[in-house]
Structures are given as structure tokens and as C-alpha cells.
């Protein structure tokens, strides 16, 4: 395959044009998601077979309304198209436009066309043409736009084969501009610009000077020239203004002759839906019901597969022990690796369910209505309507949620959103909550239909949101940042979501989570197992010490083994670590074993359950391993004789996990997104103090 020819294709278009559907049709499941170097914007690429010897490497660029970026995602689009040394620099660009908003969509097309890169125009959603009374004269449109047009319906797989054919022949595409816009803005100015950068297409030079980016592919000399041109800011703004008006004029002229809509065919479904979904009262009621439904899915439906997974991994551990010969290697597998993997796999149902809901809401166009409904309210807390989506995503994982806050234009609103996201109950907290609730809250039905355990879970979610809102109010008062507002959102047409897109999205997000967080969890599980099954001299002499101590008493072999194991754990490396922090955590009601779990979950919260499983597995009689819950329930406080996980300790732990910032991944992302250590440190310290104080208070009041 090495002698195959590869054509680099960039897919670009406004949001909501079906660009992703087209990408999925072209590449199928042959996709990979990586990160752009240095930043964490997802880079979606896929391979598409064009002929027996030629393949296309398709890059799905983030959706953008124009080539002038207003966010990090959009900056990336610009950078990919300007930097010829970039390894995704396209041989051919596909601009996807949607039939209904063709006018606005073509603005981006005319900008791209001026870059002198071969460009194909795909007009998507043509299956709706008849119903909407739209007529296009493709031939005439092609002539006026100097391009090749492909009519497509990505969802129905119409036009995809034709598109592949056009990509194959990309060298024949016309790269001339549509109209000499620059001459009509200010001829003299643009001649000066042309002479300054004779090596670039004129429009590229114009983009270089209108953006505030550092373009690292420029030579020092070019950079100096760029800076000189940038000094005349008034001029640049005026010309950008003029440029946009001229582009719209050209588009209007082109469309006048080759595109017409029979208005009588238009239906007002959108208007009717909008009146209901953004209604002063019903709008909020519907949103609340949808949220409730989502949470129902995460808590209720997900528990069935999760219980199965939990049980399956417990039996797998025991099975490994019966099949393999006893020894260190078997122990590593049965006590380190298998529970470690189980601790990752158990998240899949919840994450998949949450992402399914979120992608459905996004696909239908409902998310924009939520932003519209919530903006004014969120602004009272110093955030934006656009903060709602990141906050909801935060219930799955804070890391993608923080990245989703990028489209919040105002820096202060964005910063506050980033800072409070870790308070929302992410799925890593769920296993911790689930197991603690199962241990301390009775499984009872109250008021006929409500389950007490479910209510506790709901209360913890509300607690997380409340903490987020209050800290946002506080931050809004304290932070003195002035910023320009940039709040323009498109209210897209309602659409029936595409099953294929949703499935791809869910698979991709779940995979990213499992392989990203999964590696950390598995690694920590193995380290923990090692630290718990090794130790200094006292650990090695455990058997002799215990045998000597109890010489006179009559003990069965089984009990003796138990004593030895417990002694070993106390004198293992991790036992010493746990004991060294015991004085600090004692006021919260924890012993050194919980201390070990606490230490390990500073890398990632979900490790808590896995850590306890490892600890108690090592501690327990290994013949009847049982599920994690059974092992924890059997744990007794040696001083009081009570269960270790009693009500006060349980509540104290729940509060600690609700508030503390225990996620290395999130801290790293916050550092990257805010470009400063100040904010992650603020989160770590602030949330840590809140967690400690509330846990101590809760334990002492309840005890």
C-alpha cells in the first residue's frame, strides 16, 4: 500500500450544515481523533478510498461562519489553510453549504476561494429542496462561482460518489477568484500589500495582517512587515467592514439569477416549535423535564449494565486465582490488573448514555434554544447561556466540558465557567457516590414511588450545581476583568437527529474517555497493588512475628492467615503512607485505609473504589473475594466495633468527594486553557479547603 497516492482534503463549513454527516459518509469508521500539536482541539481525520491506488486523507475542520476567527477552534481553521508547512495543509478544500442558509454559507466559500487552493462546493440537504420550494440552476451557479458544485444529501448518501470523483480530478479545478474584491475596497492599499508579500496570494496576505495571531511559519522579515501593516488598525477595521458588505453584494447578484425560493411552500414548523420551546414558562418546564430524563438514564438505566460489569470482574478475579498457579504473577493479575480494568469498564454505560443525550440535543438544534433561554439567568452568576452546555457536559467529565467552554466569547464568563465546572458531579464521582450510598442509605421507598438512595444521589447532584453557582457568584464579585461581549448564536432549524452521527459521536467520546482516563486508572491500580503487597523488613517477617505472638492461643489456620494478611497490609509501603496522613484525616472520620484511597484518588476520583477494592482484597481472605460492596460493608472499626462505613463517615466522605478537586487531568486542562498555573492552583486550594471543612463539620455534628 506504500506506493498509494494520498490526496489531502479539508472539510470546512458553517456549523449545522451536515459537514459531520458528510465526513462520516466519506470515511466510515476509518476515523481517528488526535490533538493538534500544542493545543487540545480535537483533530478529526479519516481515510477515504477514491480509487484502487488513490486515497484521500480527510480532515474535518471545526465548524466556522467565517475565516476571521473569534475562537480557538476557528483560529485552527485559519492556521490549517494558511500554513503550507502544516501536515494537514489541503490539496483540495470541500466547502459544505446548506441549501436553506445558502447566502450566509457562501460568504465563507467566497473567502476560501480567494486563497487560491482548489475548492469544491458541496450543496447539502438537497433532499429538502422540493419540500421547501427551492430551485437551483447549478450550471449557472458553477460558472458564476468558478467552481465545481456537487449536490448532496449526506444523510441519505446522495452525491457522495460523485464527490469522490471530483476529488480525484481536483487538479482540473479553477482556482481563480470570483471577483476582484480588493480592487473595490481600496486599490492602492492592496497594491502596496501585494508588493510587500509577492510570494503569497493577496487574500492570504490580507488575512495575515487582519488577525492578531502569531503565524510561526513567517520569516522574521515577513513578520516585521505584518506588524507594520497591523499598526493601521482603523484602516483594517474599515476595510474588513467593506469587504463583508461587498462579498454579500456579490453573493446576492449570483443568487438572484441562479437560485430561487417559492415562498408559498414554506411551512412555519420552526416558528411553532420555537414558541413552545422558548416559552416563558413551558420553555423552562420542558428543559427541566429533559434534564430529569437524562439523569434518570444515568442513574437508573445505567445501573443494570454496571452491576453486571461489577459482578463479572469480581468472578473473573476469583476465576483467575483458581486457574493459574498461586504466585506473584497470579496476584498481580487477579488483584491488580483485573480490578483495575474493571474500574474503567464500569464507566462505559453512564458515559455512553450521557453522550447519547447530549448529541441528540445538539443534533436536533435544541441546544441553541437552551442557550437562548438560560443566557440572562446565567449572566447573573457571571456566566453565559453558552455555559449551560459545558456545565451539563461536566456531569460526564470535566475535561471535555472545559474544552467545550471555548466558544464563550467573553473571557471573564469563560474563566468563571472553567473554574466552577469541576463542582458539577462528573461520572468519576458516581462510583464513589454509588458505593457509599449503597452502604449508608437504606434501600427504601418513600412517598410511594421515590427511592431513598436515588433521592440522595439527586441531592448530591444538586449540591454540586449549587456549589458551582455560589462560587460563580463569588468569583463574579471578586474577579475584576473587563471584556468585550461576543454573544451571537445561530438558532438552527430543527432537525431529526441522524442515528449514524449519534452512534459515531458516542463511540468516539467513550473511546476517548476510556483510553484517556483508563490508562491512568489502570496504572494506578497496578502501582497500588505493588505498594500494598510489598514493604520494608517488618512486612517480610510478618509470618514469624504473628506466629510468635499467638503461640499460646488456639487459632485455626484460616484465622492465622487473616491475621498475617492484615499485619502485612499495615506494614506495607502503602500502609505507612496511609498512616502518615491519618492525623490529618482523622477529624473527618477516616482511618489509614481510607487515607490510602484518598491519596490515590488525587490522580482521579474513580480510583477510590478500585483502591479500596485492592486494599480489602489484599486484606481479606482471598478465597471469597466477593464484590467490592460486600468487602467494604464487612469492614469494622476496631475501636468501636461499629461498621467502618457508618452514617457519619459516609456523609463526610460524600461531602469530601463532592467538593474536593481530585483530578490531575482537569488541573492540566485548566492550566492549558487559561495559560496560567494561577487558576488550577486556585481550584485545588479553594475546593480543597471547602471539602475538608465541610467533611469535618459533617462528621462531628453527626457523630
Amino acid at each position: 500500500m506504500s506506493d498509494d497516492k494520498v490526496v489531502k482534503v479539508a472539510l470546512i463549513g458553517n456549523p449545522n450544515t451536515g459537514k459531520t454527516s458528510l465526513f462520516n459518509q466519506l470515511t466510515g469508521l476509518k476515523q481517528k481523533v488526535g490533538n493538534y500539536p500544542g493545543i487540545t482541539v480535537e483533530k478529526k481525520q479519516g481515510i477515504c478510498k477514491l480509487s484502487n491506488t488513490i486515497r484521500a486523507e480527510v480532515t474535518d475542520l471545526p465548524g466556522t461562519y467565517s475565516i476571521n476567527p473569534t475562537s480557538l477552534d476557528e483560529t485552527l481553521v485559519l492556521d490549517t489553510l494558511l500554513n503550507e508547512k502544516n501536515d494537514s495543509f489541503p490539496d483540495v478544500i470541500i466547502v459544505v453549504v446548506e441549501i436553506e442558509n445558502i447566502k450566509r454559507n457562501l460568504l465563507l466559500f467566497t473567502q476560501i476561494k480567494d486563497l487560491k487552493i482548489p475548492t469544491i462546493l458541496v450543496i447539502n440537504m438537497i433532499d429538502q429542496m422540493k419540500r421547501k420550494g427551492i430551485n437551483i440552476d447549478v450550471k449557472q451557479l458553477e460558472e458564476k462561482l468558478n467552481t465545481k458544485i456537487v449536490l448532496a444529501s449526506a444523510r441519505k448518501n446522495i452525491g457522495v460518489e460523485e464527490l469522490k470523483e471530483v476529488i480525484l480530478n481536483y487538479k482540473k479545478l479553477d482556482t481563480s477568484s470570483i471577483a476582484k474584491i480588493t480592487d473595490r475596497i481600496d486599490e492602492d492599499y492592496f497594491i502596496r500589500l501585494k508588493n510587500a508579500f509577492p510570494e503569497f496570494p493577496l487574500y492570504k496576505s490580507w488575512l495575515l495582517i487582519t488577525q492578531n495571531n502569531e503565524f510561526d511559519f513567517l520569516t522574521n522579515e515577513q513578520r516585521k512587515l505584518v506588524l507594520t501593516f497591523r499598526e493601521d488598525l482603523g484602516c483594517i477595521k474599515k476595510y474588513q467592514h467593506k469587504e463583508t458588505i461587498l462579498r454579500y453584494q456579490i453573493i446576492n447578484d449570483v443568487l438572484k439569477e441562479s437560485f430561487n425560493v417559492d415562498k408559498s411552500k414554506a411551512t412555519d414548523l420552526r416558528g411553532i416549535l420555537d414558541r413552545i420551546l422558548t416559552h416563558k414558562i413551558f420553555g423552562y418546564v420542558i428543559f427541566a423535564l429533559i434534564l430529569l430524563f437524562i439523569f434518570q438514564g444515568i442513574f437508573d438505566w445505567a445501573t443494570y449494565p454496571m452491576d453486571l460489569i461489577d459482578g463479572a470482574f469480581a468472578s473473573l478475579s476469583s476465576w483467575v486465582k483458581t486457574v493459574l498457579p498461586p504466585g506473584t504473577f497470579t496476584n498481580l493479575i487477579a488483584e491488580g490488573i483485573v480490578p483495575g480494568i474493571g474500574g474503567v469498564v464500569i464507566f462505559i454505560p453512564q458515559i455512553a448514555i450521557l453522550f447519547t443525550f447530549i448529541s441528540i440535543l445538539e443534533e436536533t438544534g435544541y441546544m441553541s434554544r437552551v442557550v437562548f433561554l438560560m443566557d440572562k439567568i446565567m449572566r447573573k452568576f457571571g456566566m453565559s447561556g453558552k455555559s449551560v452546555i459545558p456545565l451539563i457536559s461536566g456531569t460526564a467529565c470535566a475535561i471535555p466540558a472545559i474544552m467545550a467552554s471555548r466558544n464563550i466569547g467573553n473571557w471573564k464568563e469563560r474563566l468563571i465557567t472553567i473554574l466552577v465546572i469541576p463542582f458539577t458531579t462528573c461520572s468519576a464521582r458516581l462510583p464513589v457516590y454509588a458505593i457509599l450510598i449503597a452502604l449508608i442509605i437504606p434501600n427504601q421507598t418513600v412517598l410511594g414511588i421515590l427511592n431513598l438512595q436515588g433521592l440522595t444521589m439527586m441531592a448530591l447532584y444538586l449540591l454540586g450545581f449549587t456549589a458551582a453557582i455560589f462560587s460563580a457568584i463569588l468569583l463574579n464579585k471578586v474577579l475584576k476583568i473587563e471584556g468585550k461581549t461576543l454573544f451571537i448564536i445561530e438558532m438552527p432549524n430543527y432537525k431529526i437527529p441522524s442515528l449514524k452521527n449519534i452512534i459515531y459521536e458516542v463511540i468516539q467520546k467513550t473511546k476517548a474517555f476510556v483510553f484517556g482516563a483508563g490508562k491512568i486508572i489502570l496504572a494506578i491500580s497496578i502501582v497500588l497493588w505493588f505498594l500494598a503487597s510489598n514493604g520494608p523488613s517488618k512486612f517480610k517477617n510478618a509470618e514469624e512475628t504473628i506466629t510468635a505472638k499467638i503461640e499460646n492461643t488456639q487459632l485455626s489456620k484460616r484465622e492465622l492467615q487473616k491475621k498475617v494478611a492484615s499485619y502485612k497490609l499495615q506494614h506495607s509501603y502503602i500502609g505507612y503512607m496511609g498512616k502518615s496522613i491519618e492525623p490529618v484525616i482523622k477529624p473527618m472520620g477516616y482511618d489509614w485505609k481510607i487515607g490510602i484511597a484518598l491519596i490515590s484518588s488525587f490522580a482521579a476520583r474513580e480510583v477510590f473504589v478500585g483502591a479500596l477494592a485492592t486494599i480489602y482484597n489484599v486484606d481479606n481472605d482471598s478465597e471469597n473475594a466477593g464484590t467490592i460492596k460486600q468487602r467494604m460493608s464487612a469492614e469494622v472499626n476496631p475501636k468501636t466495633g461499629e461498621k467502618r462505613f457508618n452514617f457519619p463517615t459516609g456523609i463526610s466522605l460524600l461531602l469530601f468527594y463532592a467538593f474536593a478537586m481530585q483530578c490531575v487531568g482537569t488541573l492540566a486542562i485548566v492550566k492549558r486553557e487559561t495559560n496560567s498555573w494561577r487558576w488550577p492552583i486556585l481550584q485545588l486550594v479553594g475546593m480543597g479547603i471547602l471539602a475538608y471543612v465541610s467533611a469535618v463539620l459533617a462528621f462531628n455534628i453527626l457523630n
Binding site: K237, T278, D375, K376, I488, E490, M491
Partner: protein
């Protein structure tokens, strides 16, 4: 007295008269908000902010403070 998009009644249409790039983001122009173009206020959010407008075929939501900077004529 100036009339701006923020003064429109729900359902009312008017033509954009002037917008100044100093306090209007370029993005709004690029989304189709241009001088001489007809704009219609479709709806306001429950607390009268943001505003849901239709302009040049685009359906957009903008905040009241932005809408107040776009003057319109009948």
C-alpha cells in the same frame, strides 16, 4: 430619537440603518447583519434578553446590549 433593534416589538420588521465596527463585532456582519437589510424581531427570551432576530435569512440570538447599538428605520 434613534430606534434600534432593541426597540422593536415582537414580529416587527425594520431596515438596518447603521452599525459601527468599533462596537459591533465583525462576526455579526458576517452573519448577515448589514446596512440596508431587513431585520425582524422574532422573540425575546423570558427576561427580555437575549433577542431572537431574523436577518438576511439567518436566525440569530444576540444580547440586548448589542441590539441597542444597531439603529433601524422603518
Amino acid at each position: 430619537m434613534f430606534k434600534t433593534i432593541a426597540n422593536l416589538r415582537i414580529g416587527e420588521k425594520a431596515f438596518i440603518e447603521k452599525l459601527c465596527l468599533d462596537n459591533i463585532p465583525l462576526k455579526l456582519l458576517e452573519m448577515g447583519c448589514l446596512p440596508g437589510i431587513e431585520v425582524q424581531l422574532i422573540q425575546t427570551a423570558p427576561l427580555n434578553d437575549p433577542l431572537y432576530i431574523k436577518v438576511n435569512g439567518s436566525h440569530l440570538a444576540i444580547r440586548r446590549e448589542t441590539a441597542e447599538k444597531i439603529t433601524v428605520v422603518k
